[in-house]
Symmetry: C2
Subunit: 466 residues, 2 copies
């Protein structure tokens, strides 16, 4: 046996394999081995993947020839880290010129098993082609990570995210199926579905639950409105991707308190599916471990795209180790995180994102010399008593002066002017303490702002319009 279980390229997994029921690990060796030894195998694999992409895709040949890079030269991580990153804009451009999948489609079109894509709500949509073998590898990898979260064969896993272009729901489903769970792909998004979800959850009491963090909070609100305490669902493990919420302390706490369940953060990017390569485990529940043998994760300086040392902050850069349809090699995420390397209580020898992925470079609001992340505002508000559950962030400019206004729902039982004024003052001072700048606060009644069945969109930056 190879030192790493089922380590092949292209990936070939034994679909009948299940670990010893008593083991916390799906693949004990791969997860607990000496990281230096793992890195050696990963480096060889990076070269394999680059060879494959160079041979099968015009996109990568053009890009690497232009940079004077040949896969055969990738004999060290230092060499690999000089490979230019791929941006989402390049992918979109490639798809425009070579519709529908771009010239980074490496597998023949006949091998495509599923088509998915980005929603296109914030620009031109991107189409994802996932190969038949890729899907199988995704299912195996997600099952493995979900095993690490504490899910086991026979557990019911309720998937409460829209089944459409979005890959989050499909990835959770594929993992649940492969793990031999009882998959309940309920979906989300259609009118009336949340109230129906409440009834089915109460009847089925699933052990596992997948959604976006925003939607879990909305589901809790709808349950209460229907007279149901979400704790009655008796969910044990709630795992999330799609947005940073599950690692934002107050959001995480709000979900844990509402459902009485353990919250697990996971996820990188749809392009990077198997996106669960970054995930918490039942033994290391905070942040996300980086399963470096599923996807190679780097946290890089956002200008040089060289890895920052452990302990530093940067932007994730991802490389597939198994995908053969649209392999991403040094995909720049545009997200923000920090990483550490320390002993993990669960025994896995992986680096960790202790605070998850907490923002995006382009989500950062530059205002009067300060950098503000929307997740910080979210975190502050959820810790304020009588917060009504939703808010909006409006950025305006008067002359050369930027103004940050937070419109916040207040659930104070008394709505006297005094009570509201006190609430506004409290919110303002808490935000100022965290963000380091003065914020205008406007109070609204509970349920003023639309809830989402998917990902939250709260920032309205009106400066560009002025």
């Amino acid at each position: 046996m190879h030192a790493m279980e089922e380590w092949n390229f292209p990936a070939r997994y034994d679909n009948e394999y299940l670990p010893d029921p008593a083991s916390p690990y799906w693949f004990r060796n791969r997860e607990t081995m000496d990281p230096e030894q793992r890195a050696e195998a990963v480096l060889a694999r990076l070269r394999d993947v680059m060879r494959y992409a160079y041979r099968t895709s015009e996109f990568y040949r053009r890009k690497w020839n232009g940079a004077g890079i040949n896969p055969e030269d990738i004999t060290s991580f230092e060499a690999f880290e000089s490979v230019p990153v791929v941006t989402k804009a390049e992918l979109r451009q490639s798809q425009l010129e070579h519709p529908p999948f771009g010239d980074y489609l490496c597998a023949p079109e006949s091998e495509i098993y599923h088509v998915h894509g980005t929603s296109g709500t914030t620009g031109t949509p991107t189409a994802f082609a996932v190969g038949r073998g890729d899907w199988d590898a995704i299912a195996n990898n997600h099952a493995r990570v979900m095993w690490g979260m504490g899910l086991r064969p026979g557990d019911t896993v309720f998937v409460a995210a829209v089944f459409s272009l979005y890959l989050g729901s499909w990835g959770a489903l594929a993992g649940a199926e492969r793990l031999r769970c009882r998959a309940f792909p309920f979906g989300a998004g259609a009118p009336g579905m949340t109230a129906r979800a409440v009834r089915w959850l109460r009847a089925f009491k699933p052990k596992g639950f997948y959604a976006t963090p925003s939607y879990a909070l909305r589901l809790a609100e709808v349950a209460h409105a229907e007279g149901v305490d979400p704790k009655e669902f008796e969910i044990k493990v709630m795992f999330f991707s799609g947005e940073p919420g599950a690692s934002v302390p107050s959001v995480r706490k709000a979900i844990e308190d509402s459902f009485g369940a353990r919250v697990v953060d996971c996820g990188t990017m749809a392009e990077m599916t198997p996106f669960m390569s970054a995930a918490a485990t039942s033994g290391t529940p905070d942040g996300m471990l980086l399963y470096q043998d599923i996807v190679h994760h780097e946290v890089c300086d956002p200008t040089t795209y060289r890895p920052v040392p452990y302990g530093g902050e940067g932007t994730p850069v991802y490389t597939h180790l198994e995908r053969t349809s649209q392999p991403m090699i040094r995909l720049a995420s545009g997200d923000l995180t920090s990483w550490v390397y320390e002993e993990n209580p669960c025994g896995r020898t992986y680096p960790k994102l202790p605070r998850g992925v907490y923002g995006r470079i382009d989500d950062m609001i530059h205002i009067r010399g300060e950098n503000v992340y929307p997740t910080e505002i979210d975190n502050v508000l959820r810790n304020v008593e009588h917060y009504g559950g939703e808010h909006r962030v409006v950025v305006t400019r008067t002359g050369s002066m930027d103004e940050l206004t937070v419109q916040v729902e207040c659930a104070h039982p008394t709505t006297t002017p005094t009570a509201l004024e006190q609430f506004e003052k409290l919110v303002g001072s808490e935000l100022q303490a965290t963000l380091g700048l003065r914020v205008s606060v406007e109070t609204f009644p509970s349920n003023t702002f639309e809830r989402t069945d998917h990902k939250a969109r709260r920032v309205d930056d009106r400066r560009a319009l002025v």
Copy 2:
């Protein structure tokens, strides 16, 4: 080899099998064999399935013991036809008493692969447990039927129905995956999704398309509103289940005319998945053939539940030949159809429902001594010039007098009182000619009535409230 290809109970299919590309048949023998010979094999299988259900489920033991029936006695179709039917009310009752899956769950709970269910919009929902092996058999059967429709490996199949409890979308997806198509599980139901579907359909030009008939018509309307001719999607094969529309001549014609595609009707009931056991083929495009070796279909007298002769009208009664999780044995559908046995142009030796399933016993409106089916009204209206695309049927009672009112959208370019009056008169006389009774007609502008992303609900019978 058995005279019938891959004929096993429990079902075991070779997931790598594909027919000769030139063959119109997936399983040539099973589809074209002497029907007497097939019936012999089916009879033996009915006994196998009954033995299995008797052994593994309290529900069937109780039911058959009460009727003095033992699986060993099923040595003729006559004996089988005396087995009491299962009603949906019995299934609901069983689930109430033995939550969540009822005591007709025959496989161990650990074998459950997927949970789905009825929406519960018209009563208590029913939960479906589909076993791992069942799912595999469903995928193989649907792939086989879709091959018969003219779909082939590599074709893109766009699934435009909600992925949730509803099994129609999942069944179409499982078939497309097994057929080695390129599955595009787009879904439906969330706000804004229809306009997005228009853009993706135009970009991808899928060969196959699955939806409910109502949703296909809505999609065409939305496309036109977006300035897109649905013919630009270049869809070749549109297959439908969930409602009778695809066999209602004017609905079928409206879809064919809008999309320039071939319309294929299929489907029995969610409980009966693999529901595609009744389906048209590319060679026999009208009505639905009954793949008697996938599901045993009977068309029965709705009081005696004995089969009516070919040529007669009755209600479908279905029996699974492969399901091991929740096998249905003589499930009474409550639907209405007629069946024939004749030589099929495609060469398959199956009986046929020449007009598909055209109604439900309980959909039938009894009014002033006449029986009116909502699909008949639909069919008449779609043939009337300037029909606006939607309508509602309202039934009221004044004293002892029942009144049928059809509220109909009019898309006449001029809305003068004269034009509207003429339209109303025309609708009234066309409906009277078909239904045999006087109908009140009320005209509304186009887009008055809500369109559906799922199944149409048009009848408002207010008599019970009086």
